[in-house]
Symmetry: C3
Subunit: 329 residues, 3 copies
C-alpha cells in the first residue's frame, strides 16, 4: 500500500509554492495524460504545455511561467523536474534489501562482507573481496578475487566484477554489466597476435550509475577510471585506460576507445564513437551518433552524422559525395 501525502506537506518539504488545496492528497506519479486525482504529475518543458489542458492530476509540479495554464493544483518552483524527482522518490521508495548472505551464495572465507550488506542467492564472492556497509550484491552476480564494493552500492543482478576492480559508495550497477574484463591489446607477431597482459584495473568513484550490459575494461598498465557522479547508460563500451570525468553523463550504446579522456560535466549522446588517445574538454556536449576522431579542446556542442532522408534522396547525396571523393587534387 503506497503512503500518500498532502500537497501542503509536499510544498513545505520541498520548498515549493502551492496553488490549490493543501489538503488534497497524492499517492503516486503519473503522466499528465494518464493522471487521476490521486496522481502527482509534472511539466518540465513548456513545449508540452498543452498536455495541462485535459489533465485530471491531483497536482502538477511546474514552473511559475506555466502555472497559470494549469487547471488543477500546482506545486511551483524554479526546477520542476528536480522537484518532481524528489517527490517521486518519496512516493515510490526503493524496497530495502534484507542484510545477510543467502545460503545459496558461494562466498570465500577470506572475503570481508559487512554485517549490514546483502549477498543475494547464487552470487559468487571470491577470495579477498570486500563488500561495504549496506552494499547489495544481487542474485547471480560474480565478484572476483580482491574486488571492492563501497558502502551503499548496489549490483542489481548478474553483474560481473573482475579481479581487483574497485567501486565507490552509493553506486548502482545494472544487470549484465561487466567491469574489469581485459582491454583489447595484442602485439603483432609474424602474422599472429600476442596477447598484451592487461595488468591495470578499474576504479569507479562514488555516486556512479552503470547501465545494463555496459562493459568497462581494465587498464593495460594503470587503471581505467570513472570519476564521482558520472552516469553511464546501457550497452556502453569503455576501453582500457579511459578516464570519464566527474558528473559526465553518457547515453546508451556509446563506445570509447582506449586511453581517451573525457572531461567533467560532459553530455554525450547515444551511439557516439570515440577514437582512442583523445582528450575531450570539460563541459562538452556531443549529439547522438557522432564520430569523434579528434580531440576537442573547447567546451561547446559538437555533432556529426547524416540525418535520415528518403532512400532515393540519400542515393543522390551519396553520389554527390563520391564525386568529391574521386577527384584528385
Amino acid at each position: 500500500m503506497p503512503k500518500d501525502f498532502s500537497l501542503g506537506e509536499l510544498a513545505v518539504r520541498f520548498g515549493l509554492e502551492l496553488a490549490g488545496d493543501p489538503n488534497t492528497r497524492v499517492s503516486h506519479v503519473a503522466t499528465l495524460a494518464q493522471a487521476t486525482p490521486g496522481s502527482l504529475s509534472f511539466l518540465a518543458n513548456s513545449k508540452y504545455r498543452k498536455g495541462l489542458r485535459t489533465t485530471r492530476a491531483g497536482a502538477v509540479v511546474l514552473s511559475a511561467a506555466d502555472a497559470e495554464s494549469c487547471p488543477v493544483a500546482a506545486l511551483i518552483g524554479p526546477n520542476p523536474y528536480l522537484s518532481y524527482a524528489r517527490i517521486a522518490e518519496l512516493l515510490h521508495p526503493e524496497s530495502k534489501a534484507v542484510p545477510g548472505v543467502h545460503p545459496t551464495a558461494v562466498v570465500s572465507p577470506s572475503a570481508r562482507v559487512a554485517a549490514s550488506a546483502t549477498v543475494g542467492p547464487l552470487a559468487v564472492i571470491e577470495e579477498d573481496v570486500e563488500i561495504g556497509e549496506r552494499a547489495v550484491v544481487g542474485p547471480g552476480c560474480v565478484v572476483q578475487r580482491g574486488a571492492r564494493i563501497g558502502a551503499d552500492t548496489r549490483l542489481v543482478a548478474r553483474v560481473n566484477l573482475y579481479p581487483e576492480v574497485v567501486l565507490g559508495e552509493r553506486g548502482l550497477v545494472h544487470a549484465g554489466a561487466v567491469i574489469g574484463a581485459d582491454g583489447f591489446g595484442f602485439a603483432p607477431d609474424r602474422g599472429t597476435w600476442f596477447k598484451v597482459p592487461q595488468v591495470g584495473s578499474v576504479r569507479i568513484g562514488d555516486d556512479v550509475e552503470i547501465g545494463a550490459n555496459t562493459t568497462i575494461d581494465r587498464g593495460a598498465i594503470g587503471d581505467t577510471v570513472v570519476e564521482h557522479g558520472a552516469k553511464l547508460d546501457n550497452q556502453i563500451q569503455v576501453g582500457h585506460n579511459v578516464t570519464i570525468g566527474a558528473h559526465t553523463a553518457i547515453a546508451a550504446c556509446t563506445g570509447i576507445s582506449g586511453s581517451t579522456t573525457i572531461g567533467q560535466r560532459c553530455l554525450i549522446g547515444g551511439m557516439v564513437g570515440f577514437a582512442g588517445h583523445l582528450n575531450i574538454a570539460d563541459d562538452v556536449m556531443i549529439t547522438g551518433c557522432s564520430l569523434v576522431s579528434a580531440s576537442i579542446r573547447e567546451a561547446g556542442s559538437y555533432s556529426s552524422g547524416m540525418p535520415t532522408v528518403p532512400t532515393r534522396a540519400w542515393r543522390r547525396m551519396v553520389a554527390h559525395l563520391r564525386r568529391f571523393g574521386e577527384k584528385e587534387r
Copy 2:
C-alpha cells in the same frame, strides 16, 4: 535419430506442387552447395539461381519461376522461404523442456509456477512472480519480484527480468537479455545529477522474440511497450517509454532513445540510432546504420550514412564537407 519424410507427404502437408519422385525421402535441411540426397534445400531469391546447377539436394523448395532450372526434385510454391521454414521446423523440432523446478533453482514460496512450466538449474524466481503454462525459465535466469511470464514463453538462459515486467505468450528471449532495468533519467541539481525514479514497467506482447544481450528499459512513468509479433535481434537498446509496434522487426545493435514510438510492420536495419520523442509511422523501412533524428510521418524507405570508400577518397569527401560547414551565411 532425425525422422525423415517423403516429398509426397511434404507436398500434401504444405500445399506445394511436386516435380519429382514422391517417394524420395529427406531428413534434414542444407544449403544448395552442401546438400546431399537426404537434404532438403531452398531457393528464395532468383539472384542465387545458379546455385541450383550443381546441387545434390534430394529436393529444393522454390518458386514456379525457378523450377525449370532445378536439376533435382522441386517443391514449388508462391512463398518458398516460408514453405522452407515450415518444413525445417518439421524436420528439426525443438527439444521439449521437461516440466518441473530444478532442485538447484531458488524459488520464492509466493511465486506461482504452473505445473507444466520448467524452471532450470540455478534460476532465481523472486516473490509474487507468475510463470504460465509450459513456460520455460532456463538456467541462470533471474526473474525479479512480481514479474509475469506468459504461457509457452521461453527464457533461454541467463535472462534477467526486473520487478513487475510482463511478458506475453509464445515469446522467446535469448541469453543475456535484460528487461526492465532503470531508464536513464537524471535531473540536474547544482552540477550533479539527481536520479529520477523509474516507476513504470515493461509490457511485452505475444509472439515476441528478443535477442541475446538486448536491453529494454522500464518506463519512467508509464510503461515501455513492445507489441505483439515484434522481433528484436541481439544487442538492441530500447529506452524508457518507447513503444514498438506490432510485427515490427529490428536488426541487431539498433538503439532507440526514450519516448520514441515506432509504428507497426516497420523494418529497421542494424545499428540504427533513433533520437528520443519521435514518431515513426507504420510500414517504415530504415536501412542499416541510419541516424533518425526527426519523426517520419509517411510509410516508405529511409536512409542515411556514408558508405565506405578508400580512406584517401574519404579524406577528400570530409574536406569538401568541412568547407561547407565553415561557410557562414
Copy 3:
C-alpha cells in the same frame, strides 16, 4: 609477492640488447610516467618519446632509434611492443585455476569433463558437453547440450554456449558473451513473421579471444565460423553464417550482418557496421564507425563517416547535403 628479474636475465631470455646495469631488477610493469625504479616500462611509438625524459623506470623496452633518448637502462629490440608483452606476461603470470568441479556446479552425468579441467561455482554443464584438458569454465557459465570446449580454453564467467557450439583450443571468452543464439531469420507470413529454424551451429578456431558481452549467432543452415587466431573485442555482434578469417582483429561494438565473409588478417575498427552477404578481402583495414554496404575486393584501408564538428557547422553541412538529395536528375 611478485617475482623479480634482472635486466641481464631479461635481455638473454628475450633476445634484447641491454644498455645499462645487468643486475638491476624489475618486478612489474608501469607507464613511463608512473614507473619507479622497480618498474619495467616501454616505448613503442616514437611519437611519445618525450615521456622518456622524466621517467624513473628501472628499464624501458624500446627500439634502437629511441635508445639514445633514454635516461635509464634500455632493453633494445626491433619490436618493442611485442618484447614488452612477453616480459609483462613473465612478470604478471595468470593465476592457475585449480582443476576439478566445484560442488555447486550442476554437471550432467553424460558430460565429459577432463580431469585437468576446472568447472567453477554455479556453472551449468548440460548433457553430452565435452570439456578439454586444462579448460576452465568460470563461475555462472551455462554450457548447453553437446557444446565442446577445446583444451586450455577459458570461459571467464557468466558465458553462455548454446547447444552444439564448438570452441577450439587456447581460447579466451570474457564474461557475458553469448555464442550460438538463434540467428535473426523470419519469413513473412501474411503480415506476421514465421520463425526460420536456425539449425546450424558456431565453430570457433584455436587461439581466439572473444570480448565481454559479444554475441555470435548460430548459422541458419551451416555454421557461423571464426577462424584461428581471430580477436574479437567487447559487444561485437556476429550474425548467422558469418565467417571471420584467421588472425583478423575486430574492435568493440562492431556489427556484422548475416552471411558476410571477412578475410584473413583484417583490422576492423570499432562500431563498424557490415551489411549482409558481403565479401571482404584479406588484409583489409576499416577505420572506426564506418558503414560497409558493399563487398571489398582489394586489400587496403577503407573509411566512411563524418567526423564531429561544432554543431552549428554540422547544421550547415547537413543543409548542403540535403540540397543535393532534393535535386532530381
